[in-house]
Amino acid sequence: MSSTLPKFAFLDPQIDMAHGAGGKATRRLIDDLLGPLLYGTDAPLLPDSARLEIAGSQVLATSDSFVVKPLRFPGGSIGSLAVHGTVNDLAVSGARAQALLVNLVLEAGTETAVLAAELESLSEAARAAGVKIVGGDTKVVEKGKADRMYISTFGIGVPIPGLDPSPYRVRPGDRVLISGPVGDHGITILLARGDLDFEADLCSDSRSVLPLVEALAFVEVGVRWMRDPTRGGVATALNELAGDTGLGIVLRDDDIPLRDAVRSACELLGLDPLHIASEGQFLAVIAAEHAEAALGVLRRTPGGADSRIIGEVREQPSGTVLVANSYGSSRVVDMLVGDPLPRIC
């Protein structure tokens, strides 16, 4: 009996850091290698969470891995990030997280105090987010084989009534909303690494966005699609939407909320804030007639005061995200290729 492996189109000879950065290279890895080999050759659009029907009930499931250096940073740590990231993936898929399984890969030599601190962060974040940690696996690897610890999670949740986000529901004319200022997390991590020697009044925005998502579910606001702009930032998330739908998205530069420190860091380092990760925000595409109402709901919900409408969906330019400025011109903003790197030119 012979077996035929599906062919795959992935041409890179080895895996590089770029494949994990969340931009184009990651997309190639998923579309051209993981898709054919893991998910079947007709890989559907891969959402943040998978919708499953189990014994007659609908559940959503998601999985994520957390590799962050330094482990602790202003506003959070790998433990709280792991909870928030998983809860948020489920939330933007329209689900309320109920349970988490947490896997730990620990580097031998890690101090117990360090591990205990992360377990406390995990536990506290889970409690605050209303989700139970129900199990998981722990492995220890040799010194040098893990940056102290890697955390991966499996989260399971139930659909929130009133929400059924999907790229297929997005229409020209829909508005794009963001729940608050972008880039806090990414810049905090960059500065926390210490290589750049900058100090800032800034901390990670790591938090659960579930309360904000649930607020949208209660009002008839026609949520079409949601995504949390983590690795690769707003630009990558919206480029994925534009690519999946073949529609265009136009953002207004002046309307994108940014904290001063994030803006300054980006100017100093030559970075585009639209490529910087947030871990406590989400993008929502809302039908035009409901956009103002949705904005109002978010702003009245604790944690949503800085929500903004930042742009809209159009027929053209197909598959492309543009940022328009107040001068009447615009620029294309693409998915991130690799990690955002500071520049001097």
């Binding site: 290589d195 020697d197 520049r343």
Partner: protein, 372 residues
């Protein structure tokens, strides 16, 4: 942000644009070259070229220090990085530039100790914090950056730091401009001059462009209003047949330049007899090498580097694009064999290289039907 936001004001931008439209003589076609990659970046970031009348054309010049760095020099740096006990550090701009066997980032993922620094002084700090390692700073940049490298070398010498050296690839902007002006196909009417280089060298070194080449040059800042005002100043000169050096960036550029910076550069560096510029070939007296008095801190003396010349494929027309003779999409490889993800020439690798900037900001727009 002060001194930034006011120079981005949209009402003032609208006024400047109106003035440009008023000044541009419809019977003429003006070709203005912005020399500096930072200007190219600003122009695309703010879409300034879209706001100009169609007879005012901006041509992107060779002022991108990553773009003009020969591939062989990347390989030299990587061969140093491949040696045990060595940390090579450089600016983020360098990390994705391909050498023959990969980019610095790829070498890092294979185990080489390559780090990104924001400042050459951070590289020196790294050396002080890692005395058992050799730390090499991969220096690039025009005269804006060279004085900072110079001060760092002076400090290293002063403190007798034994484990620090610099791999110098600093080049001079005027050589690049001369290469452009010497090109027989060149059709540039005026120059938007490099504002930050000029904070160091002042305005006088550009006089020969105005006098001998009869081209006006306006030293420009980097915000939208700076660039637009500089275009206004150039159009005014061109309309009456003048060619002078003007300083638009007076809030930051002193007429005579920065004495301390020039002195530091003179102490530490000397002009190399020849240096190869990617796309432009060998140019005499165009690059900064480290003086004998700083030999112990010169990475090219401390390490044996292969020094192999790697030429770009003949089909890559980087030189012509660098000199403004061709526009990026006119190069046969553009968008096909040569893209930002798989760059053949360095103009596609650096994000403010003409080809990468064009690809990123323009190409995708012109390929699709509607406009915003």
């Amino acid at each position: 942000m002060r001194f930034v936001d006011e120079f981005r004001d949209s009402a003032l931008v609208a006024g400047a644009i109106r003035e440009i439209h008023r000044l541009a003589d419809p019977r003429r076609h003006y070709r203005l070259m912005e020399v500096c990659g930072g200007h190219t970046h600003s122009i695309y970031r703010f879409g300034l070229h879209e706001l100009l009348p169609s007879n005012v054309e901006l041509v992107h010049g060779p002022g991108c220090p990553v773009c003009v760095l020969p591939m062989g020099r990347i390989d030299d740096a990587l061969s140093i990085a491949g040696q045990p006990g060595v940390i090579v550090c450089g600016f983020g701009d360098l990390m994705r530039v391909p050498g023959k066997q990969g980019t610095p980032l790829q070498w890092r993922s294979r185990g080489a100790d390559i780090r990104i620094v924001y400042s050459p002084s951070d590289a020196l700090q790294l050396a002080l914090a890692n005395l058992e390692k050799q730390v090499v700073f991969f220096a690039i940049g025009f005269e804006t950056t060279a004085p900072s490298t110079a001060l760092t070398l002076m400090r290293a010498k002063q403190e007798g730091v034994q484990n620090f050296s610099v791999f110098s690839n600093h080049v001079t902007i005027l050589s690049a401009m001369r290469a452009v002006l010497d090109s027989p196909d060149m059709r540039i009417d005026g120059f938007i001059g490099p504002g930050h280089v000029s904070t160091v060298i002042g305005c006088e070194p550009y006089e020969w462009i105005a006098r001998q080449e009869s081209k006006p040059i306006v030293i420009a800042g980097f915000e939208p209003l700076d660039i637009l005002q500089s275009i206004i100043m150039l159009l005014r000169q061109l309309n009456v047949g003048e060619s002078r050096v003007e300083n638009q960036y007076r809030r930051a550029v002193p007429q005579r330049g920065n004495r301390a910076a020039l002195q530091a550069m003179a102490d530490v560096f000397e002009l190399r007899t020849y240096f190869e510029w990617r796309g432009l070939g060998f140019i005499a007296q165009s690059a900064l090498g480290i003086r004998e008095s700083y030999a112990p801190w010169n990475a090219e003396r401390r390490f044996n580097v292969p020094g192999i010349r790697i030429t770009d494929p003949k089909s890559a027309q980087c030189g012509e694009v660098l000199k403004g003779v061709l526009k990026p999409p006119q190069c046969k490889l553009f968008g096909k064999e040569c893209t930002p993800e798989l760059p053949v020439g360095a103009l596609m690798v650096s994000s403010e290289g003409s080809c990468a900037a064009y690809y990123q900001y323009e190409y995708r727009k012109t390929r699709i039907a509607a406009r915003v």
